[in-house]
């Protein structure tokens, strides 16, 4: 595995990127006129009144958690998929297939439960 190559290219790109940025900084120069409005973070559209006790919109972290769990289940499928044909040839295919089917059934049940319990609900 060309680990050396990968590391080389990552370092190269990092250097290349920072060089570009400094180049742009050099040419463009630092922001000369800095007014409060300019420095402030850019906003547009109706200034929304911040809802006081806005429920910390944590659908994100729930999605992330579910993502982790399902991602691992997918990762388990990779080696299975890889050797599926070999297992079939080697004769143990049936056993492996059934075990994977149960695994997928659990996966589906987990997914169904998540969907049903409206964990993935996003406010409109």
């Amino acid at each position: 595995m060309p680990l050396g190559g990968i590391i080389f290219i990552t370092i190269f790109i990092a250097v290349f990127g920072t060089a570009l940025i400094f180049l742009a900084r050099a040419i463009g120069g630092m922001a000369k006129r800095t007014s409060q409005a300019k420095m402030d973070s850019y906003e547009c559209g109706i200034p929304e009144v911040e809802k006081k006790d806005s429920k910390i919109s944590v659908n994100f972290y729930l999605t992330a958690i579910l993502f982790i769990l399902f991602d691992i289940e997918i990762i388990y499928m990779y080696p299975w998929a890889l050797n599926f044909k070999d297992f079939l040839k080697a004769g143990t295919g049936a056993l492996v297939f059934t075990s994977m089917v149960t695994f997928v059934v659990l996966f589906v049940f987990g997914l169904w439960w998540a969907i049903k319990s409206k964990a993935l609900e996003w406010e409109k």
Partner: protein, 108 residues
């Protein structure tokens, strides 16, 4: 084990020492840090250190078993992180600050 000269050749013990160092860094993180999420991260770090030693053993022993166990450890770590963070979020929601002190409220 053939005599390993420390620098020229990378033997099993190199990897084990590396994993040991990582483990202790993780442990110190768990012990010292106040912020719970960082504690969780240090636990992840410790688990990764363990993974390294597993894989190192599996390579030098030509035994795939090591890698399978890494699979399992990985899953457990992910599960632990998921649940841990769910708890931490609920703590944060209630106390507005994620700090290990708040777990004392769970004291018996």
């Amino acid at each position: 084990m053939q005599e390993i000269s420390l620098f020229s050749q990378v033997g099993l013990s190199h990897y084990l020492i590396l994993s040991a160092i990582l483990f202790t860094i993780g442990l110190s993180g768990v012990l010292l840090r106040r912020n719970l999420i960082v504690v969780m991260m240090s636990i992840e770090l410790m688990l990764n250190a363990v993974n390294i030693s597993f894989v190192a053993f599996s390579k030098y022993n030509y035994n795939p078993e090591g890698q399978v166990i890494v699979f399992f450890v990985l899953t457990i770590a992910a599960a632990e992180a998921a649940v841990g963070l769910a708890i931490i979020v609920s703590i944060f929601k209630r106390f507005k600050e994620v700090n290990i002190r708040f777990f004392e409220h769970l004291k018996g």
